[in-house]
C-alpha cells in the first residue's frame, strides 16, 4: 500500500467512532458557498424549509402543485439556506516531527498526520470543505479531496529541522488547524496567527510532543543533536539540565497559549504516548466550538 493509502486508512479507523463533524460556521455571508450549515431561513439549499402562499412576483414554476392541490390557495415550496464552512489545515513535516523516543511509539509526524486526516474525514463526511494551507489543495468537498490531502500529507521530504506554519491561502472567515511540535522559532507562528486573526480566521493549534520531550529523562555526559544533526549541544551532566529544560518548555507552551488566546484560537498539547482518540475528541470539540 502506498503511504497515503495507509495514512488514510488509519485516519478512517480513528474517525469511524465519531459522527460527522460540522465545523462551527460563522460570518457566513462572506463565504457564499453552498454547504450544509442551515441558516434557519429560506434560501439556497437542499433541505425543505416551508410552504408559503404565492406572492406576487413568484414564478409559476416555483409553485408546488402537490401542496396547492390540497387547498384552494397556491403555495410555493421554500428550501433552507445552507452554506458550507472551509477548514484549512497545516501539518508540520519538518525533521523534528520524525522523532520517536521508543520504537513502540509512533513519530510525532505520523501522529499529527493521522489526527489531521481523521478530522478531515469527519469534516468531509459532514459536507464541509477541507483543504491545506498554501495553494496545494484549496478547500473542496468530496472523497477526492481526501485522497489529495492524504497524498500531500504523506510527503516527508522537508529537510528543515523545525517547521514554520504556512498561513498563505487562508480564506477569510474560514477555520484553520495547525499541527506541529512548535519547537522551532516562535516568530513565524506568531506571524501566522496574526495574519489569520487579521482575516477573521479562527482555529486550533495542536502541539504534538513525544513523552521524552516532556520528561527529559537523561543522565550523564550527553551530546544532544537535532534530527538533522545541525544543532548540537553537549552537557557533562544531563540530569542537572532537567529543571531548566522543563522550565523552558513550560514557557514555550505558555507563550503559545497566550498567542492563541489573543487570536481567538484554541491551544492543545498532545503526547504521542497517549491515545490518539483523546486528541481527536479534543480536536472535534474545539472545531465544533462556536
Amino acid at each position: 500500500m502506498t503511504p497515503e493509502v495507509t495514512l488514510r486508512q488509519q485516519a478512517e479507523d480513528l474517525a469511524s467512532p465519531l459522527p460527522p463533524l460540522l465545523a462551527a460556521a460563522e460570518h457566513l455571508a462572506s463565504t457564499v458557498m453552498l454547504g450544509i450549515h442551515g441558516r434557519r431561513r429560506a434560501g439556497m439549499g437542499d433541505e425543505f424549509w416551508q410552504y408559503r402562499p404565492v406572492q406576487y412576483g413568484d414564478e409559476l414554476r416555483t409553485i408546488d402543485w402537490r401542496r396547492s392541490a390540497r387547498s384552494d390557495a397556491q403555495f410555493v415550496r421554500q428550501k433552507e439556506w445552507q452554506i458550507a464552512q472551509s477548514v484549512l489545515m497545516w501539518v508540520d513535516n519538518a525533521g523534528s516531527m520524525r522523532f520517536a523516543s521508543d520504537k513502540n511509539l509512533e513519530t510525532k509526524g505520523h501522529r499529527a498526520r493521522t489526527l489531521a486526516l481523521a478530522i478531515a474525514v469527519l469534516l468531509l463526511r459532514a459536507g464541509e470543505r477541507v483543504g491545506l494551507t498554501a495553494f496545494d489543495a484549496p478547500p473542496r468537498t468530496g472523497e477526492t479531496q481526501l485522497m489529495r490531502i492524504a497524498a500531500l500529507l504523506s510527503d516527508e521530504s522537508n529537510d528543515a529541522d523545525y517547521g514554520q506554519p504556512e498561513a498563505r491561502g487562508m480564506l477569510p472567515h474560514s477555520r484553520a488547524l495547525f499541527v506541529s511540535d512548535f519547537m522551532g522559532n516562535i516568530e513565524p507562528v506568531e506571524a501566522a496567527l496574526t495574519k489569520a486573526a487579521d482575516r477573521g480566521v479562527r482555529g486550533t493549534l495542536l502541539q504534538v510532543l513525544d513523552p521524552q520531550e516532556e520528561i527529559f529523562p537523561f543522565d550523564g555526559r550527553t551530546i544532544f543533536e537535532s534530527m538533522s544533526g545541525q544543532l548540537r549541544y553537549e552537557t557533562l551532566k544531563a540530569s542537572d539540565l532537567r529543571d531548566k529544560y522543563l522550565t523552558r518548555l513550560a514557557e514555550r507552551k505558555d507563550r503559545l497559549l497566550h498567542l492563541c488566546q489573543a487570536a481567538g484560537w484554541q491551544f492543545g498539547t498532545h503526547h504521542t504516548g497517549d491515545s490518539a482518540q483523546s486528541a481527536l475528541l479534543w480536536l472535534y470539540s474545539s472545531l465544533e466550538r462556536v
Partner: protein, 921 residues
C-alpha cells in the same frame, strides 16, 4: 621459577607491570566517560544553558579501584601463578619404574597410578627413556626402554594382580645395563625383597615410594565350637582400633546382600584380631565371603568354601521311646559321627521336610505314609539325599519285595540273612575293597570290621550299577540310586552295632564324609588332592571383586594343596567333584610385616601434591570485575536509567548471571503441598479444568468440612484442589471428582498414581452431576466420559448401595444420598457373594475395607457448597423440602467422610451385643 611461599610464577617478570598501576590510576582519573549521542528535537530549548557542575569527568574512587583490581588480576594472571609448584627431579638417563602390583596395592591403586603418571610426566619433560615393570607380572627378556608418552597412554589399563611376586629376585638378577630405579612398593615385607633391591642398586640409584597407610587382610574363616572365627590381620602393631567385617551371600531371593556384620577389635600393638560370629545354620550356609567393607583389596576379602558349610541332617529312627538303651538306639552312632560336623534336626518327617535339610537319614524305617512319600520324593527330586539304614523292621516288612520301592534303591529279599551268629553257619563277613567307581574308593578298610547280618538285594539287571560297597562274598552292603537331582542310599546293615561293627570303626565316619553327609576338615591335604583336577569357578581380582572364572583352565590338586597363587591359579573358588575349595590371598598363618628398607634408600610418600595453576581463576576474576565495571559505568553514564536501559541492563545482567536454577523453588512447592495436606485432615477435589465446576467442588468440600467441624470430631482444614498430573495423592483420604465432558484424560503416570491411591485405601467420589438421567448408563455424556476416565482405573465390581451398607450408618442413619438431585442410584464396591445375614443381626457382615469408589450423579458439591461467609451458594429444591434435601445431602457427606476415616468400624458394632454378652453383662 620464582616462588613466594607456596605460590610460584612461571613468568615473574610480568609482575613488574604492577608498578604501572598507579600511573593507570591517574590516567583513569583524567579521562571522563565517553558521552552518549542522542537525537533529541528539544535541543533548541537547551541551547544557551550551562552545566553547573563538572563532576562527571571524575570517575568515582570505587570504580577506579575496581578497574585497578581487574588490571592487577590480569597482570598477575599472565605472570602464571602456580600453587604448590613441583620441584623438578634431577637426573637423566634411562629410568625404570617398578610397581609391586600385588593385592596390597589395590587399595590405593588410583593414587599409585597418579604417582606413576607424575613420574612419567617428569620423565617426559626430561626426555628420559622409561621402562615400567610390575613385579607380579615381570616381562620376559630384556627391559624395553620407551618414551614416557607411550607408557602414559598405557597407564590407565594397568591393573594390580591378586597374587604376590614369586620369582622377582631371579628376574632382577638377570637385569643388565645401568638405569635409575623408582620402586613403588606395596609396603609388605616378603622373601627375596632384599635381593631384588640389591639387584636394582647394582644398576643405579633406587628411590622407593611407599604409602604409610596400614594394610589389612582377612584370614580364611574357620569353624570353631559351632562358631565362625574370622581373623583380621594388619601390618603394623599400631593403636587400638576396630575393623568392621561383613559377611555377604545370597539371600533367599538370590540377591547378594550383607548377611551379618562383626567388628574385630585390634588391641594396641596387636597385629591380629579375632571375632566370633554365631549364626543360625541357614544363614551361615548362605555366606559366600567375608570382607572388610570399603577396602578394595583382595586381602580384605576371604571366600568361604564347603569347609564352612554345615550340612543339615535329619535323623529319623523307626523305634522311639526306648529309654535307657542309648547304645542300642538306631541313631546313636549317627549322632556321634555327625554332631561335630553337621547340624542335626529332630522332628516328624513332615516338619523336617519343611526345613528342607540336605540329608534325611531313615534308620530302620520301613513304611512312610503316602503324604510323606510324596513329600520325600519331591524333596529328593530337588537334590535331597535320602540315606536309609536297614534293620529288623525293614527286614520284616514287605517293602520293595515285588516291585522296587521308590524310596529304596533296590528290591529286597524277604527276611535278610544272618551270618556268623550262634545259630548260623559261617563267619561274619568282611568288606571287599571299594571299586574304583565307588565314592568310597581309596578308603582303607580296617581289618576288624565285620558284618553279621544284612538285608539282601534281589538280583536285578540294574543292581551291579547301584552297588557302591559290597561284602567279601559280593553281596551288596551299600547301594545307591540317583533320582532327579538327588539320590537314595541304602546301607544294608543297621546304623547301630547290632548287625555289623562298621558304626564302631572310623570307616563309618569316613563313609559318611564321602557321601557328603558330614563335611570334612577345612583344607584337604596334598595326599587327598593328589591326582585330582579342580576347575576354577569364581576368581578374585586384586580389588577383591568376585569374577566368573569358568574360562580358566583347571588346576591340579597338588598345586591347590600347595596354595601358591600364580597367574594360572588366581585366588578364587575351585570346584571338584563333590565339593568346592576356596583359595584365598592369605593363609591361616599369614602375617603382614612392613618392609624394612635400608637407611641408604630414599623413601618417599605416594602423595602427589597437584600443581594448581591459578592463571585461569585470576583471569576469570578479572573478567568478572570488568563485567561489574561495565554495569557500574553504564549506571554512572545514565544508560541504565534512560531510554533503551532495559536492553542494556538485561545484557549486562545476563553476562553476570550465566546460570539460573529454579528447581529448588519447585521442590519447596511440593513440600508446601505435602505440609498443607498432612498437618491436618484435608478433603480434596480433582481439578477438571472447568473453572466453574472446580470452584463449585471447592465450595462444596468447604461446606462439608464446615459441617464436619461443627457436628463431629473430624476437624478438616481448608480443602485442597489437586492436579492429578503433578500432585501427590497419597496425602488425601478422600477425593471428590466431578465429571465434565471436556476434561482431559489423565496421563499414564497420573493413572499409576490414582491406582496406587485406590489400592492403598483412598476413596474417590465420582459425580457425573447429571442426576443419573441415564440411570448410570452410557448414554449421558457425563456417564460416557466417566466410563472413559475410569477405564484404566483399578475399580472392583460395583453394586447400588445396599440398604445395609455401612455407608448408611457411619454417623447418621440414612437411606437416601441426595445432592442437588435426588437420584437413588449410588454405586459402591459390591459385597462379596458369600456375605450372608447372620441370624439376629440387623445387617450382613460386608466387605472389610472401605469401598474405593462411590459413583453417583447427584451433584453433591452443589448441595454442599457454601461461600466464605457460610451462605449456601446454590438453591436446592423448593422451600422447606429443598432445605431438608440439603440437610440430607450434608449428612451423606458426613457419613461418607466418616466411612473413609473409620472404615468398617460401624460394621463391627454389630458384634457389640455379643461382646457384652461374653463379658457377662
Amino acid at each position: 621459577m620464582f616462588t613466594i611461599g607456596a605460590l610460584g610464577f612461571t613468568a615473574p617478570w610480568l609482575l613488574l607491570g604492577l608498578i604501572a598501576l598507579p600511573i593507570l590510576w591517574l590516567l583513569l582519573r583524567a579521562v571522563p566517560p565517553a558521552p552518549i549521542r542522542r537525537r533529541f528535537p528539544g535541543v533548541v530549548l537547551l541551547l544557551g544553558l550551562k552545566d553547573e557542575e563538572n563532576q562527571a569527568d571524575k570517575t568515582p574512587w570505587w570504580l577506579l579501584l575496581l578497574r585497578t583490581l581487574a588490571i592487577a588480576a590480569v597482570i598477575i594472571g599472565f605472570a602464571g601463578p602456580v600453587l604448590n609448584p613441583q620441584e623438578e627431579r634431577t637426573g637423566d638417563g634411562p629410568l625404570l619404574i617398578v610397581a609391586d602390583g600385588t593385592w596390597a596395592d589395590a587399595r590405593d591403586w588410583p593414587r599409585r597410578l597418579d604417582r606413576i603418571e607424575a613420574l612419567l610426566e617428569e620423565a617426559a619433560r626430561r626426555a628420559r627413556p622409561v621402562a615400567f615393570v610390575m613385579l607380579t607380572d615381570p616381562p620376559a627378556g630384556e627391559l624395553q626402554f620407551q618414551a614416557a608418552d607411550v607408557l602414559l597412554s598405557r597407564l590407565p589399563s594397568l591393573q594390580p594382580n591378586p597374587w604376590t611376586p614369586t620369582d622377582a629376585a631371579d628376574w632382577a638378577q638377570g637385569l643388565t645395563g645401568s638405569f635409575e630405579t623408582f620402586w613403588l612398593s606395596d609396603g609388605l615385607a616378603r622373601e627375596g625383597r632384599g635381593n631384588v633391591l640389591v639387584s636394582f642398586e647394582n644398576r643405579g640409584p633406587v628411590t622407593v615410594f611407599e604409602s604409610p597407610r596400614p594394610i589389612y587382610a582377612l584370614e580364611p574363616a574357620r569353624f570353631q565350637d559351632g562358631n565362625i572365627v574370622i581373623t583380621a590381620i594388619r601390618d603394623n602393631g599400631g593403636a587400638a582400633e576396630s575393623v568392621t567385617i561383613s559377611a555377604r551371600g545370597l539371600d533367599p531371593a538370590g540377591i547378594e546382600r550383607q548377611l551379618a556384620i562383626a567388628t574385630a577389635e585390634f588391641e594396641t600393638g596387636a597385629q591380629r584380631a579375632e571375632v566370633e560370629l554365631t549364626l543360625p545354620p541357614e544363614l551361615r550356609n548362605r555366606i559366600s565371603r567375608f570382607e572388610i567393607p570399603g577396602m578394595r583389596s583382595a586381602g580384605a576379602v576371604t571366600l568361604t568354601d564347603d569347609a564352612l558349610k554345615r550340612r543339615e541332617v535329619a535323623l529319623i529312627a523307626g523305634r522311639e521311646g526306648r529309654e535307657g538303651l542309648e547304645l542300642l538306639s538306631p541313631t546313636h552312632y549317627l549322632e556321634q559321627a555327625l554332631e561335630p560336623t553337621a547340624d542335626l534336626i529332630d522332628g516328624t518327617l513332615e516338619d523336617i521336610l519343611l526345613a528342607n535339610p540336605d540329608v534325611i537319614i531313615l534308620a530302620d524305617v520301613a513304611q512312610v505314609s503316602d503324604l510323606e512319600r510324596e513329600g520325600l520324593l519331591e524333596w529328593i527330586d530337588q537334590g535331597g539325599m535320602l540315606v536309609r539304614f536297614a534293620g529288623p523292621r525293614l527286614a520284616a516288612s514287605d517293602v520293595s519285595r515285588q516291585d522296587e520301592d521308590p524310596l529304596l534303591p533296590v528290591r529286597l529279599r524277604a527276611g535278610g540273612r544272618s551270618v556268623g551268629g550262634a545259630m548260623s553257619w559261617g563267619e561274619p563277613k568282611a568288606l571287599s575293597p571299594f571299586a574304583e567307581t565307588s565314592p568310597f574308593f581309596g578308603l582303607t578298610i580296617p581289618p576288624d570290621v565285620s558284618v553279621s547280618a544284612q538285608v539282601l538285594a534281589q538280583p536285578d539287571p540294574t543292581l551291579s550299577d547301584r552297588v557302591i560297597a559290597a561284602l567279601a562274598d559280593g553281596t551288596p552292603l551299600v547301594t545307591r540310586k540317583r533320582e532327579g537331582q538327588g539320590q537314595i542310599v541304602l546301607f544294608h546293615v543297621t546304623a547301630n552295632a547290632e548287625w555289623s561293627t562298621i558304626p564302631l570303626s572310623g570307616l563309618f565316619v569316613e563313609m559318611l564324609e564321602r557321601l557328603a553327609i558330614s563335611t570334612r576338615p577345612a583344607m584337604p591335604d596334598a595326599e587327598d588332592l593328589a591326582g585330582t583336577v579342580w576347575a576354577p569357578d569364581q576368581m578374585l581380582n586384586a580389588f577383591g571383586e568376585v569374577l566368573d572364572a569358568t574360562t580358566l583352565a583347571g588346576v591340579s590338586g597338588e598345586d591347590l594343596a600347595e596354595g601358591q597363587l600364580r597367574p594360572e591359579m588366581p585366588p578364587g573358588l575351585y570346584a571338584g567333584e563333590d565339593r568346592r575349595i576356596a583359595l584365598n590371598v592369605t593363609q591361616p598363618d599369614t602375617t603382614l610385616t612392613r618392609t624394612a628398607w635400608p637407611a641408604r634408600i630414599t623413601l618417599e610418600g605416594l602423595a602427589v601434591v597437584a600443581e594448581t595453576a591459578l592463571k585461569g581463576a585470576l583471569l576469570t576474576g578479572a573478567f568478572v570485575l570488568l563485567l561489574i565495571d561495565i554495569i557500574a559505568s553504564l549506571w554512572l553514564a545514565g544508560r541504565l536509567t534512560g531510554p533503551r536501559a532495559v536492553t542494556t541492563a538485561m545484557v549486562a545482567v545476563a553476562a553476570l548471571t550465566l546460570t539460573a536454577n529454579d528447581t529448588h523453588a519447585q521442590d519447596t512447592q511440593i513440600d508446601a503441598l505435602a505440609l498443607d495436606a498432612t498437618s491436618e485432615v484435608v478433603l480434596a477435589h480433582v481439578i477438571t479444568g472447568n473453572r466453574q465446576i472446580d470452584d463449585m467442588a471447592f465450595a462444596g468440600l468447604l461446606g462439608v468440612s464446615n459441617v464436619l467441624f461443627q457436628r463431629t470430631s473430624v476437624e478438616p482444614a481448608r480443602p485442597i484442589s489437586v492436579n492429578l498430573e503433578t500432585d501427590e495423592l497419597s496425602f488425601f483420604p478422600f477425593l471428590y471428582w466431578p465429571i465434565t465432558t471436556d476434561q482431559p484424560i489423565p496421563s499414564d503416570e497420573a493413572y499409576a498414581r490414582l491406582n496406587r491411591y485406590l489400592r492403598t485405601g483412598g476413596m474417590i467420589l465420582f459425580d457425573t452431576r447429571d442426576a443419573n438421567t441415564a440411570s448410570f448408563g452410557a448414554s449421558s455424556p457425563n456417564g460416557r466420559k466417566l466410563q472413559q476416565l475410569a477405564a484404566p482405573l483399578d475399580i472392583p465390581p460395583l453394586e447400588p448401595v445396599p440398604s445395609d451398607h455401612v455407608l448408611t450408618r457411619t454417623f447418621y442413619l440414612l437411606q437416601d444420598f441426595p445432592g442437588r438431585h435426588n437420584s437413588r442410584d449410588v454405586w459402591v464396591e459390591a459385597a462379596p457373594p458369600d456375605a450372608e445375614q447372620i441370624e439376629g443381626m440387623p445387617f450382613r457382615n460386608l466387605n472389610d475395607g472401605v469401598t474405593p469408589v462411590v459413583i453417583g450423579g447427584n451433584d453433591w458439591a452443589a448441595a454442599w457448597a457454601i461461600d466464605e461467609n457460610g451462605r449456601h451458594l446454590y438453591p436446592i429444591g423448593r422451600g422447606y423440602a429443598g432445605e431438608r434435601q440439603r440437610e440430607i445431602a450434608m449428612r451423606f457427606g458426613v457419613n461418607l467422610i466418616m466411612h473413609v476415616l473409620t472404615g468398617n468400624y460401624k460394621s463391627d458394632q454389630v458384634h457389640v451385643p455379643a461382646l457384652l454378652d461374653r463379658l457377662g453383662q
